[in-house]
């Protein structure tokens, strides 16, 4: 079997997150492969809709939940349009897992701060559940999540679940003007909510993912709070085709995002040319 042949997967569940965002739960058709399949939080895969092509997404479900993988996507192009048409029982393809991962084992015994904006919660959610499924291994878990409006919040049921847990501190926010009358969370941009949440930097790792503008303005806040750049992790989404370090598309400066990433520390990103 050559490297580029995907494994058939079955769409087991279709979850509408927002008007334009959807999550698919996928199960491997080959039971032997399903049994052996393993990955680490932060890794990605190439998802294919036969006839439309392949698209790159992180695996949004945690490795601790076996038997399926999930991906969350927004409709932006040919493949995501085709994914939008799929129904339960339909067949897709998956190749992976590829790339590096968040070093959760190194984070054991420390606090975790998760910061996400919009659909950027997808890769972060994988790490959150991975940590919560191994809750004893970590100390404080803080989540700051923001979206443009209440309607743009993804994983609503899970946000409720996290809000209800006493071992998780959850801050939810929407941009000014994006709130509804019954909105109980914060109103404001993610960087200012992080400032307000005032997470302590000592023994804490930050994992951040969202639109570039959010990351740009959140990093200084984290630095001010005392985080060092090697303890702030994020994940890049460059255009990719092969996922295997061959096709050259995701190369920026000395790194191939698909092989050296997608997970990078803020310190590493600083050394990269601004081509992502």
């Amino acid at each position: 079997m050559n490297l580029y042949t995907p494994h058939p997967v079955r769409v087991a569940e279709v979850i509408d997150e927002t008007v334009d965002t959807r999550t698919l739960r996928l199960e491997f058709k080959d039971p032997a492969f399903a049994e052996s399949f393993d990955f680490k939080a932060g890794q990605f895969g190439e998802y294919s809709v036969f006839g439309a092509g392949e698209c790159t997404f992180c695996i949004a479900s945690p490795p601790t939940r076996r038997g399926y993988i999930e991906c969350s996507f927004k409709k932006v192009g040919k493949v995501t349009n085709a994914m939008r048409e799929l129904e339960v029982g339909d067949t897709m393809g998956f190749r992976g897992p590829y790339g590096n991962h968040f070093p959760l084992d190194r984070m054991e015994g420390d606090n975790l701060l998760f910061i996400a904006g919009g659909i950027g919660l997808a890769p972060v959610r994988c790490v959150i559940w991975n940590a919560l499924d191994l809750r004893d291994k970590f100390r404080d878990v803080t989540i700051v999540y923001g979206a443009r409006s209440v309607g743009d919040l993804v994983y609503r049921r899970e946000l409720e679940e996290w809000a209800g847990r006493d071992d998780v501190k959850l801050w939810q926010t929407v941009d000014p003007g994006g709130e509804t009358p019954d909105w109980k969370g914060e109103v404001g941009f993610v960087p200012s909510v992080v400032e307000k949440a005032e997470p302590k930097a000592e023994n804490t790792y930050a994992i951040i993912c969202g639109p570039p503008i959010m990351i740009k303005f959140t990093l200084p806040v984290l630095i001010k709070l005392g985080f060092t750049k090697d303890r702030i992790f994020t994940t890049l989404e460059n255009r990719m085709k092969c996922g295997l370090g061959k096709c050259g598309r995701c190369n920026i400066g000395p790194v191939y995002v698909c092989k050296d990433g997608p997970v990078f520390t803020a310190a590493q990103l600083e050394d990269l040319p601004p081509e992502f």
Binding site: G53, G77, K78, N81
Partner: protein, 290 residues
């Protein structure tokens, strides 16, 4: 060409333009140059090797040149016809450019040719050229050289292909287009391929298969010919750029013949001349319609 050097230096010195796009002697033959100082202008030349159509640098796709500011550009008559088309199609504002026409006695088919112009080395379009003294200009330089010889190869090839049966022609193009790797060089150098996003790059729906197999290649070359019908000024840059040696000017030449015979169209440097596609005559011939 001292006249050209003096003129362009003055344009830069007076602040009329920010850059001059012209020809220079490169390390391996004549090539385009963007001169930004009067000193740079001393490098400007013009001779039979100036085959490039510099109008292509005025295309709205050249973002990295547009940011350099107002440009003067050196044009042969055929290049001026491309500028006229850009103006006609509102891809360029007349006030944004200074057009320096050169009186032209024909150019080689390739940048590497040598010796006197002859039927063997002259570009297809030069024989019988009506635009040797372009009129779409702000300045016109040089003396009018003698008329260029006529290259007969292309017309002969078109005629020979027309003699064949459809199946034989199909076989000819099947062999020729098999080498196309869809690098898109023909499109990139074309002064009139102005689309920000080419139909061949669109994927949803995908009208043209992007793969360089024969089916995708046939579709691409048909689409290219169609979209340039009545716009192509026959500068031959597509063929010169083609790393596979596909005789693109044979296709362009055929389309040119059709446009001439049906609609009386010839490339012109008059920006107000009507475009044959996009206009119509109620009495257009329709012998092919039942």
């Amino acid at each position: 060409m001292q006249e050209l050097v003096d003129l362009t230096s003055k344009l830069l010195q007076n602040g009329d333009v920010n850059v001059v796009i012209g020809y220079e002697e490169g390390p391996r033959g004549v090539r385009p140059v963007v001169a930004a100082t009067p000193d740079d202008c001393r490098r400007l030349i013009f001779d039979h090797r100036a085959v490039h159509n510099l109008a292509t640098y005025l295309s709205p796709r050249r973002k990295h040149l547009r940011v350099r500011g107002r440009a003067a550009v050196v044009l042969k008559g055929c290049d001026a016809a491309a500028v006229a088309t850009l103006l006609r199609e509102r891809q360029l504002k007349r006030d944004d450019v200074v057009l320096i026409g050169v009186r032209c006695g024909g150019v080689y088919r390739t940048t590497t040719a040598e010796g006197a112009l002859s039927a063997d080395n002259v570009a297809d379009r030069c024989g019988g050229c009506a635009l040797r003294e372009p009129t779409l200009v702000d300045h016109l330089v040089g003396d009018l050289p003698p008329e260029p010889p006529t290259a007969g190869q292309r017309a002969a090839r078109i005629a020979a292909l027309e003699e064949l049966s459809p199946a034989e022609r199909f076989d000819y193009w099947r062999r020729s287009l098999a080498d196309c790797v869809r690098c898109n060089a023909c499109r990139a150098v074309c002064p009139l391929c102005v689309c920000e996003r080419c139909v061949a790059d669109k994927t949803d729906p995908q009208w043209i298969e992007s793969s360089p197999h024969l089916r995708g290649n046939f579709s691409w070359h048909m689409a290219r010919a169609l979209h340039l019908a009545g716009r192509c000024v026959d500068c031959g840059e597509c063929q010169r750029a083609c790393p596979a040696g596909i005789p693109l000017t044979v296709i362009n030449g055929k389309v040119g013949q059709v446009m001439g015979a049906r609609f009386g169209f010839r490339p012109t440097d008059d920006p107000d001349a009507p475009a044959p596609i996009g206009t119509f005559d109620p009495d257009d011939s329709q012998e092919f319609i039942r």
